[in-house]
Amino acid sequence: MENPILKLIDKIKPTFSKGGKLSWLHSTFEAFETFAAVPSTTTKGRTQIKDCVDLKRVMIAVVVALIPPFLFGMWNTGDQHATAFGLEWGFWLKVWFGFYKVLPLFLVSYIVGLGIEFAVAQVRGHEVNEGYLVSGFIIPMIMPIDIPLWILALSVAFAVIFGKEIFGGTGMNIWNPALLARAFVFFAYPSVISGDTIWIEGLTNATSAIDGFSGATPLAIAAEGGEAPSLLQMFIGNIPGSFGETSTIAILLGAAILIFTGVASWKIMLSTVIGALAVGFLANALAPAGSFSAYPAINHLVMGGFAFGAVYMATDPVSSAQTEVGKWIYGFSIGALCIILRLFNPGYREGMMLAILLMNTMAPIIDYCVIRPNIRRREKRAATK
């Protein structure tokens, strides 16, 4: 007895195949078809069997790893809003509020992003690549919750087209597409992604917020020399910030999933932390008391986008360094650069985005340097003959 879903696919397939009425939607149909069932393609070359892991599985593993910060983000969005406006909301109401507010962001991210992906795949005659399943999930999580949807749509379109498709699609890109979306907002609409009020839903144009509530992120507070929330509070993540980046504990859960499944490199995560601590401790040792440089290095790990960036963005296998030694250098540089930017760039304290994008750019050079000795070994062997 054949499965009804497979039956349905077989029934409508001719419409989308060559010569069918909707053959111009061929790639789109194929994307849904292979989504529903692993296709019946068989091996053609010398390797007669293949491992059962494919890119869909890898990508879905990353999405699963993103769920802890996603769930926490929903609650935190509601909680921050309630605190700002002095509302006495229960747990589920906060979660519902967060869900209600973030849903449009996810819808816009996926509809715009996948729309472009499908269209490009169709024009090129390629299969649709799964990469955007992850990018589309990450983008809303690193944006302020109050971002206007049209700006989000624009940044997604920019990231997908100029970050990915012009290079040839997933696997060919130089920069992490999700970060590129954020960088686009940062440079094109700076007012949207800076300031104190944007991190809490409804605060920007609010009239009814409780007196004295600023909504500033801990990073901004600390940089101004103010009293940042406690380490524990920042670790738990009940603080203002982008939707998914606040809770270090939820991100660590995700990191555990990524490391356990082997999808993301623990070397990059660890070396990023080491890099940040190295610069942080150095600054602590040298800085005069009271300055931001004297702010405890360990706190930097739980502030702003550091943890989220180290776990989910720096480890992007396409834009990171590809060699094992290179990963250590790449991660260390990201961590170090992030803290340097935070300490010495008064205009924009959140250094993680720029640090990762810069190291994305440098990753091929790092790999080049790592591979050089291998090449030289070979040349030396040839010369000594």
């Binding site: 019946s40 390797t47 491992d51 890119l55 869909k56 591979i371």
Partner: protein, 458 residues
Amino acid sequence: METIRLKKGLDLKIKGEATKKVLTTISPKVIALQPSNYKGVFPKLHVQEGDTVKAGQIIFSDKKREQICFTSPISGTIKAIVRGEKRKLLAIEIAPDGKNDYLTFEPISEVSKANRDEIQKRLLESGLWAGIIQRPYGIIANPTDTPKGIFISSFNTAPLAADLNFTTKDEVDAIQIAVDALCKFTDKIYVNVKADAPASPLSRLKNVVFTAFKGAHPAGNVGVQISHIAPIGKGDIVWTISPMTLIAMGKLFSKGIYDTQRLVAVTGQRVKEPAYVKCLPGTSIQSICEAFEIEKEVEICGQECGIRYISGNVLSGEDVGENGYLNFYDDQITLISEGNYRELFGWAKIFRPKKFSLSHTYFSWLTPKKKYKVDSNTNGGERPFVVNGVYEKVLPMDIYPVYLLKAILAQDIEKMEQLGIYEVIGEDLALCEYVCPSKINIQEIVENGINLMLKEMA
């Protein structure tokens, strides 16, 4: 003896291992010589349909290197000359006459006293020269070369591979004769044995250098072994020979006949009781399968799945089809299921207990001893390189595989040289292709690279 420990690699646990008994000797209805078995050879035919031939009689030779010829493994009549598109020579089918008439070559009673020319002449005229493979490129060796060394792997780690300890156990004398003869071509003959395993019969050989290897597949691949003993650089030439060919060489020198009869492991989950048979290369798969009970009807996910007939192993063998033949260099046949079924939401299932994956996104790593039934489904569509660090887990060589592959795709000869094209042939990267989540046909890319090198360096 030096022991080299390889940490990378993967032993695939697959159902259908051959039990160590020889079921029968196959007397085939038809035997075929297929020029496609020999990489880079352009065949020049020496026979016509209807000719009678003896075992050891020349059938075709290489247009570019005329002295290398390919001879009939059996006596009989030329039944058909099969040609494909553009009259490409596909196969020469021979109907055996059942008499086993051998063309006799003059035996060499004491090979250690013979000179290189004499031995070379005998190998070339008998057709056994085709068993000597040159690295780089994995083509048949040049008779004019003097190799830096000759490498012999005494064990095969590929999935379900024939146990060479079993297949060579009575043939050490023949192998010793062959080794003594090959000493005339080079200073060093390396025999690589498996560490911590029952001693190989080949470990009794004399006048050779032993190296022990420890580790999972591809530790038994001679290419991997060479890269750890004496990596091949630009201008280097080494030769490799399988124990199977050595046995035939021994018989050639001692008895003066071309006898390539070998023990072949018939394996795979579609064979009900996998075991060994004795047969000649070129024997039709059908006549081998007749000796076994084959599982005809198998359903996967409720869909009927046919049989894939592979000459060789599942990682680097050839899908020859039901009407195919045992390839010249193979001592194994594997019958697995065709994977032309669809699995609903297969990639999204939390558990897929019937499938193996090296990736921890599935949970097969929790049951490391479990043996799996395998099929030819690709388990996903082809994508560009995305995930990194996966190939490196299964490639115990000092090579950056992705960079080498990209250099090949870009047809950048200089880069290919720098990144180690001379050190590999397709089978060395077979496991990389197996584990690739992007389903890239890596062996094909490597072979294309080698063909490009052959063309450019000629």
